[in-house]
């Protein structure tokens, strides 16, 4: 028991001090091994290195590169223009464009905050100019960007799949319908707010404009087709799909749209590598941490506790959602996913929860942490772009947050929303 006490106390103290999460996990594990067990300290390095030797995790930097190239290489801009064609004439037109743009974007990029920054810089000023309040524009952008984490490809699904050995192809497919449900709810919320406030409709596009925008967007639209088609069709693994997506985005930005020059490539790759390293260090440090937990039979104890607490699946899922939502107030989705997934996974079997359904559910839950106050990365990004305070943001985000929580409830209690597609055409 000393090892467990050392592990948990060390972890909490380091975390509260503000140490990097990887350091908090790795160092508390080292302290537990050194003072609570007879195992040589070298186990720390051993566990940390073994988990990194993974072809699956390699999908992470590849999709990050693809996302960065899309943002800086003009691919996002074309997709946003294209999305506007479909929804511009609906009430709250430009607001609906934000949702449609994120829908189009997330089909090729894998990250909510990357989408948030990319669409936010283009659309928040456009909405403000058209007479929308900047706070509304910011809140809507942040809410819509959560689609990026759920619609395939998704960096969070790659991490979850790699940790749990769940098929990433099935997770990607499983995210499609939930992403569309979220988009539909946000659509309705925007419609109601825009109608009440009398937000203007943008001018209608001429046929010539429509044609030109579609033509320019076509190469960009091929990206999700290649990625998803390739994985579902069994042409390549998710990791290879990531490499193909990165290469295709590189080709588009450098030679077709020509918004990136050769000297921009190295800093962009370095940025992707640095981010990947920061994530993988947490993955790596979570290994010795999990090793101590397993050695002290914490997961067994937790499973027994839960079994005594309830044998209803719906209560289990509600409990998981509430706990993760509370943790989401303090944690970013990436570290939260890495920390919590191994703890929760052993519980799935006893409640007959499908790992794909569970993965989509917890990913959506954690992504909400990005957009609600007091802290949230997407919230900070849009507040900076729109030059508004957290308080102004808070007053505008709640209808969208409610819409997304409603989507989370539907996805939690109707597993078919997730499982229908992977069961139908799963790889």
């Amino acid at each position: 028991m000393t090892a467990l006490a050392l592990l948990l106390c060390g972890f909490l103290v380091l975390l509260i001090l503000g140490a990097p999460i990887a350091v908090a996990m790795g160092l508390s594990a080292a302290i537990a091994v050194l003072f609570g067990t007879n195992v040589p300290l070298v186990i720390i390095g051993q566990r940390m290195l073994v988990i990194l030797d993974s072809f699956t995790f390699l999908a992470l930097p590849f999709f990050v590169i693809a996302g960065l190239l899309m943002e800086k290489g003009g691919i996002t801009k074309r997709l946003v223009d294209f999305a506007a064609l479909f929804v511009a004439r609906i009430t709250g037109g430009l607001g609906q464009v934000v949702i449609a743009a994120n829908l189009a974007m997330s089909g090729a990029s894998g990250s909510a905050t990357a989408d948030c920054a990319a669409t936010g810089t283009v659309l928040i000023p456009a909405l403000s100019r058209a007479g929308y309040s900047p706070a509304f524009a910011a809140a809507l952008t942040a809410a819509a960007s959560t689609l990026g984490a759920i619609l395939p490809p998704s960096v969070l699904f790659v991490i979850y799949g790699a940790i749990t050995n769940t098929s990433i192809g099935r997770l990607f497919l499983g995210g499609v319908i939930p992403g569309l449900i979220m988009a539909a709810y946000l659509f309705v919320a925007t419609y109601i707010i825009a109608k009440r406030r009398g937000y203007p409709k943008p001018p209608v596009f001429t046929w010539a404009e429509t044609w030109s925008i579609t033509l320019h967007a076509l190469p960009a639209l091929l990206m999700p087709v290649i990625v998803l088609g390739g994985i579902v069709g069994g042409v390549f693994t998710p990791t290879e799909a990531g490499a193909v997506a990165a290469a295709y985005a590189f080709f588009l930005s450098l030679f077709v749209y020509r918004e990136i020059k050769w000297p921009d490539v190295i800093p962009l790759l370095a940025q992707a590598a640095t981010f990947t390293a920061a994530v993988m260090l947490i993955v790596s440090a979570s290994e010795p941490f999990g090793w101590v937990l397993a050695r002290e039979r914490v997961t067994d104890a937790l499973t027994a506790e839960f079994a005594a607490f309830t044998n209803h699946t719906w209560i289990f899922l509600a409990a998981v959602n509430i706990v993760l939502f509370l943790f989401g107030i303090f944690f970013e989705p990436v570290p939260l996913l890495i920390v919590m997934t191994p703890v929760l996974m052993p519980l799935l079997a006893q409640y007959h929860v499908d790992p794909v359904h569970f993965g989509v559910m917890i990913t959506l839950n954690m992504t909400l942490g990005l957009i609600h106050p007091p802290v949230g990365l997407s919230m900070f990004i849009v507040c900076k772009i729109a030059r508004i305070s957290i308080w102004e943001f808070t007053r505008e985000i709640w209808p969208f947050l409610l819409a997304l929580i409603l989507a989370l409830l539907v996805i939690t209690y109707v597993p078919q929303t997730v499982l229908f597609l992977p069961n139908l055409i799963g790889p």
Binding site: L15, I16, P20, V23, F62, I65, P333
Partner: protein, 182 residues
Amino acid sequence: MAEHDPEPPPGGNSFAGRFDAFCERLNRVLEVVIALLLAATVIVALAQVIFRYGLDSSLSWSEELARYLFIWVIFLGTSSATRRHHHMAVEALASIMPGVALRPLAAVVTLVSLVFFGVVLYTSIVLTENAIPQLSTALEISVAYVYVAAPIGVALTMVHLLNQLMQIAGGRSVAPHQAEIS
């Protein structure tokens, strides 16, 4: 050339200032290396697809090489993430602390990070030594060539952490943790 630089380095010409400038240069060079390694990883993974479908002959070594390059990217990238304060952390306490407490807090966080990376440095050196006689399955190179990425990357990380400790002690800015993508 530093001699012709009209502006003195941000930290002045003190040892701490020059050390900070050295760390910045070191990191710039390293980021080019990391970028090239990552580019190579993409190319290897692409080659794997092209050979399997285009040329109908699977490469035996491509996946292993991509994985090994990835390990190098991760450990060298860790030092760069440290230099740029990109490691994810919970900032709740720091955000409610009064201004005077921020510097001691940052110093403590940097110190515990140094201890952690010290543990990783020691254990990864032991593992690298043990790995020298082991040969990888596909490329048949010593696994030590892969594992040695860990002590090298971690040692570089510790150099950046020592520099940060020096900057904190010298009263220079305490940059917050910030992750850009998530």
